[in-house]
C-alpha cells in the first residue's frame, strides 16, 4: 500500500516504512541509542531527500526516546541533574548545527559532510566499543580480577573548574565536561539526524566515568529534548520535517523499542556493547565503501532555488 508524503513529496510503501521504524526501534530499545544513525541512511537510500530524512529522523527519535526513557525511569536509571547539564550544552550545539546544516546545503556539500561524519564517528566509536567489550568478555570468561572503574583515577579532567556533585552517578566532576559533550552531540544531532546516543553513551562511560546502569536512561532523557529542539528548528528554517513520515516511523519505532528494552534486560552489558560495536562498524564500512567506489552516475542535480 502506497502513501504520498506531504513534505518529502514522494509516495512510499507504508509497510516498508513501518517495518523500518520497527526494526530500528528494536535496536533503539536494546542499545539505548536513538537509532537515527540507521534510520537516516536507510531513508536516504529509499529515495527520501537527505534534508527531509535528517529532520524527520530527529522527530522520530523524540518518540522512540520518550517511550524508551519511561522503562529506565521506573527503574531509577536516569540521572536528571547530569541530564540537564548535558541538555544545556545540547540545545546550544543543536542550534548551531541546524545553522551549519543550512550553510553546507547551499554549498552542495551536505551529503559529503553527512557521510564523512558517519564514517569518522561510527568508525572510531564502533571500533573502540568492540575492542573494549571483547576484552571485557574474555576477562569475565577467565574469571580474572575485574578492573576498577575509571572514576577514581585522577587526570586533567579532575582539575577543571565549576565542579558539581552528581549523586545518582556518584560523581564529583566539572560541569564543563558534560556541557562540552552535550554541545558536541547536539551538533551531530542537527548535522546527521541522529540522537547521538552512539557518541553520548561511550562518552558518558569512558569520559565522564558514569556507571553503566544510568548511562542509557540519562542519554535517552537528554536526547528527547535535543531532538525536539532540532525538530522545531528544522520546521521553522527548512520546512523539511515530514509529520506523516515521522508518524509511520514512530508507530513502528515505539513498538519495536519496547521489545528491544525487554530483550536487552536479558543480555550482559559487555555483550550488548560488543553487538552495538559490530553494528556501528558495519554501517561505517558500508558508507565508506560508497564514498570510495566510483559512482555509476558522476553527476547529480538539485533544484537551484534552495
Amino acid at each position: 500500500m502506497q502513501i504520498y508524503l506531504p513534505i518529502a513529496e514522494i509516495s512510499v510503501n507504508i509497510f516498508l516504512i513501518l517495518g523500518l521504524g520497527g526494526g530500528v526501534g528494536f535496536l533503539s530499545g536494546l542499545f539505548g541509542v536513538g537509532g537515527g544513525f540507521l534510520i537516516t541512511p536507510l531513508l536516504i537510500f529509499y529515495g527520501i531527500p537527505p534534508a527531509v530524512s535528517v529532520a524527520t529522523a530527529a522527530n522520530q527519535i523524540v518518540a522512540s526516546s520518550v517511550s524508551g526513557v519511561f522503562a529506565h525511569w521506573r527503574r531509577g536509571n536516569v540521572d536528571i541533574k547530569m541530564g540537564l547539564v548535558l541538555l544545556a550544552g545540547g540545545i546550544v550545539g543543536s542550534t548551531v548545527g541546524v545553522w551549519v546544516f543550512a550553510w553546507l546545503r547551499s554549498l552542495g556539500q551536505i551529503d559529503l559532510v553527512i557521510s564523512l561524519c558517519y564514517v569518522i564517528f561510527l568508525g572510531i566509536i564502533g571500533g573502540m566499543m568492540l575492542l573494549e567489550a571483547t576484552r571485557a568478555i574474555f576477562r569475565t570468561r577467565r574469571k580474572g580480577p575485574i578492573r576498577r572503574s575509571k572514576k577514581h583515577q585522577h587526570s586533567f579532567i579532575h582539575g577543571l573548574p565549576f565542579k558539581m556533585r552528581f549523586y545518582r552517578s556518584g560523581l564529583y566532576i566539572s560541569a564543563l565536561l558534560p556541557l562540552a559533550v552535550g554541545f558536541f552531540v547536539g551538533m551531530l544531532t542537527a548535522l546527521m539526524g541522529v540522537g547521538g546516543g552512539f557518541v553520548m553513551v561511550p562518552a558518558m562511560i569512558y569520559l565522564l566515568g558514569m556507571p553503566t546502569g544510568v548511562v542509557i536512561g540519562t542519554s535517552l532523557f537528554q536526547i528527547i529534548f535535543v531532538t525536539a529542539n532540532v525538530t522545531f528548528l528544522q520546521s521553522v528554517q527548512t520546512q523539511t520535517v515530514d509529520v506523516a513520515l515521522a508518524i509511520l516511523l514512530l508507530i513502528g519505532g515505539v513498538i519495536g523499542a519496547q521489545f528491544g528494552a525487554q530483550f536487552g534486560a536479558r543480555l550482559k552489558a559487555e555483550h550488548l556493547r560488543a553487538l552495538l560495536g559490530l553494528l556501528v562498524l558495519s554501517v561505517c564500512l558500508k558508507l565508506l565503501f560508497d564514498l570510495v567506489i566510483e559512482p555509476d552516475e558522476l553527476y547529480s542535480i538539485m533544484p537551484g532555488d534552495l
Binding site: F70, A246, P295, I301
Partner: protein, 254 residues
C-alpha cells in the same frame, strides 16, 4: 486512471468523432484541430502513485501530430563528482535556468520524419531542442556534458521521458495518447501543446493547460508546514511525545 474516467473519456472521444466527421467546420482556420484531456487537474492525494492522463483530439484533414507537455520552469544545479584524496566529492557545477520540472513528448511517427529539424528547433519540440539557459558560475564547464547529465538525471527520475511516446490514430482523423505522470510529479501549471503538421510545416497548434496540485490532507499538511512553521514544529514534537508515552503505557501492563 480509474475505469469511470476512462469510460467518460471514451464517450467524449466518440462525441468528438461525431463532431469531427458530421459538423462542417466553417471557421477561417484552414486546418481545424480539436484537442481535450480526460482530466485538466492531476490531484495529488494521499494515495497518489502516479497517473495517466488521456489526451484525445481530432483533425479534419490528414496530418501528423506532435504533443509536448512541459511542466513549470525551475533553476537546476548540476554537480560533478571528482575523486579527491580517495573519495568522491562534488566538485565543479553548472547552473541552468528555464529547466522544465517535467517534459514529455509524443508523436504518431518519428519526429524527424514528420518535420524538418529547423521547425522542431524553432518550436522547441523534443528534449534535444529544449534551451536551458546556462547561468554557470563555471564558464569552463563543458556545457554539452552538463546538459546531457541534467537530462539523464531527469530521465532517471521519471520526469523527462526517455523517448517520445506513441500517438495512435483511430481513423485518419481521431487520435489519442496517454501522458504518464509519475509519483514524484512536481506541482504547478503544465502547458500542453498539440501541433498538427503537414508537408513539413506546422498547420495548426492547440495549447491547453493542465494543473498538477496537491489536494486533501497532504495539501493541508504542506500548506500548514510552510505557513505556520513554528506551530507545525511544536505539533510535530507533541505528537512524538504522546506517541512515545502511549507506547510506554501500553507495554507497561505486560
Amino acid at each position: 486512471m480509474s475505469s469511470p474516467a476512462r469510460f467518460i473519456a471514451s464517450i467524449c472521444l466518440s462525441a468528438f468523432a461525431i463532431i469531427a466527421t458530421s459538423t462542417p467546420m466553417k471557421r477561417a482556420l484552414a486546418d481545424p484541430l480539436v484537442v481535450d484531456l480526460s482530466n485538466h487537474l492531476v490531484a495529488i492525494t494521499t494515495g497518489f502513485t502516479g497517473t495517466d492522463v488521456l489526451l484525445f483530439g481530432a483533425v479534419q484533414n490528414e496530418g501528423d501530430v506532435i504533443v509536448t507537455v512541459r511542466g513549470p520552469d525551475q533553476d537546476m544545479v548540476v554537480r560533478r563528482k571528482e575523486r579527491k584524496v580517495g573519495i568522491w566529492v562534488n566538485a565543479e557545477s553548472a547552473r541552468y535556468k528555464n529547466v522544465p520540472a517535467y517534459y514529455a513528448s509524443a508523436s504518431n511517427r518519428p519526429m524527424d520524419i514528420i518535420a524538418p529539424q529547423n521547425i522542431l528547433q524553432d518550436y522547441r519540440i523534443g528534449l534535444d531542442n529544449q534551451r536551458f539557459i546556462a547561468v554557470s558560475d563555471n564558464p569552463d564547464a563543458d556545457q554539452k556534458v552538463y546538459r546531457d547529465a541534467l537530462v539523464r538525471n531527469m530521465q532517471n527520475a521519471g520526469l523527462f521521458n526517455q523517448r517520445p511516446a506513441k500517438i495512435s490514430f483511430l481513423s485518419n482523423q481521431l487520435f489519442r495518447t496517454d501522458i504518464h505522470f509519475p509519483a514524484n510529479t512536481p506541482t504547478g501549471t503544465y502547458t500542453i501543446n498539440v501541433y498538427l503538421i503537414r508537408d513539413g510545416r506546422i498547420a495548426s497548434v492547440k495549447t491547453t493547460p493542465l494543473v498538477v496540485s496537491k489536494t486533501g490532507v497532504s495539501a493541508e499538511v504542506y500548506e500548514f508546514a510552510h505557513r505556520y512553521s513554528a506551530l507545525y514544529g511544536i505539533i510535530a514534537v507533541i505528537i512524538a511525545v504522546i506517541a512515545g508515552w502511549i507506547a510506554s503505557v501500553a507495554f507497561r501492563k505486560r
